[in-house]
Symmetry: none
Subunit: 147 residues, 2 copies
DNA sequence: AGGCGTAGTGGGGATTTGTGGGGAACTCTC
DNA sequence: GAGAGTTCCCCACAAATCCCCACTACGCCT
């Protein structure tokens, strides 16, 4: 039930497979059935939602009114990139070509725990992302947490 | 029970047949019996409702106020073009000429999962549609998923 | 220190999927 | 009723996908 945390620098093999760290696999809710929904994330990374968490999201999406143009745009955009993936016998998932292209992934990937989901980054992209952050850790924390 | 998601760029063969991606076929409720109701969609695409879902749609339509002119227009349009199609042995459906013409389809089709229904787009039409969207992915997602 | 188990990595083979086409059955027209 | 045109069903094939097995490195336990 604990959230995902930690980070790992793993290989992406020629078939587009990435291992998920054991710590995160153990943090999986049994009802997630080793299944994730993988989709585009923010800032050029890939999001991985465990099944149980994704179902809540689908409920939210499903409750939108489809006769509203903006809702349709949103539903299409979100779902278009989503895909259901299962851990294989070795605890890996396989990325689609589209998502690898989107996140600029080649043969290395950074797996990052983010509480209710897992993020997959290209290491270089992540570096640039960190450097682009104007504020340091302390300042950020103060802005977000410090009332 | 999971909704339709994902996207695929598939061929439309000379007989007007399009394959439905396995992932979406697997998401089908057994009581849909591999049958869809196909009809005109919004924004020049074709909608594909699984049988079980379409029945709810009919209820919704039936509950509309028929003394309202716009309701009548809507109901006529959606029903006039509606047709029942079944997956063939290869998991394909065949499009009618009228719907292909309406959606500007020729030899390629974009199949997009949209939770309770499937959409079929002409690739160029879809490109134009995406470009016309005002908000980017992050903004859209934040609006609904961002608590 | 040695062995055992687990985690990350790689690859081969079987199966499935997307695609095209042929032929039977059915319909519509003349 | 014959012929042309459709529609439907089945077969075939190449490519992509999935599943399983094998290897190595590291840590833990005895």
């Amino acid at each position: 039930m604990a959230g995902f945390k930690g980070r790992a620098d793993y290989a992406v093999d020629s078939k587009g497979r990435v291992a998920i760290p054991v710590k995160m696999r153990n943090a999986l809710n049994p009802e997630a059935k080793n299944t994730f929904t993988i989709t585009r994330g923010f800032e050029k990374c890939v999001f991985l939602y465990p099944l149980d968490r994704w179902e809540k999201m689908e409920e939210e999406i499903g409750s939108l009114n489809m006769y509203n143009r903006e809702s349709r745009d949103f539903v299409r955009t979100i779902l278009m990139w989503a895909d259901e993936v299962k851990l294989d016998g070795q605890g890996r998932i396989s990325l689609t070509k589209e998502l690898m292209e989107f996140a600029d992934l080649d043969d290395r990937a950074l797996i990052i725990g983010a509480l209710d989901h897992i993020e997959i980054w290209d290491p270089d992209t992540f570096d640039r992302y960190l450097n682009a952050q104007s504020d340091d850790y302390e300042t950020l924390a103060e802005r977000v947490l410090g009332v």
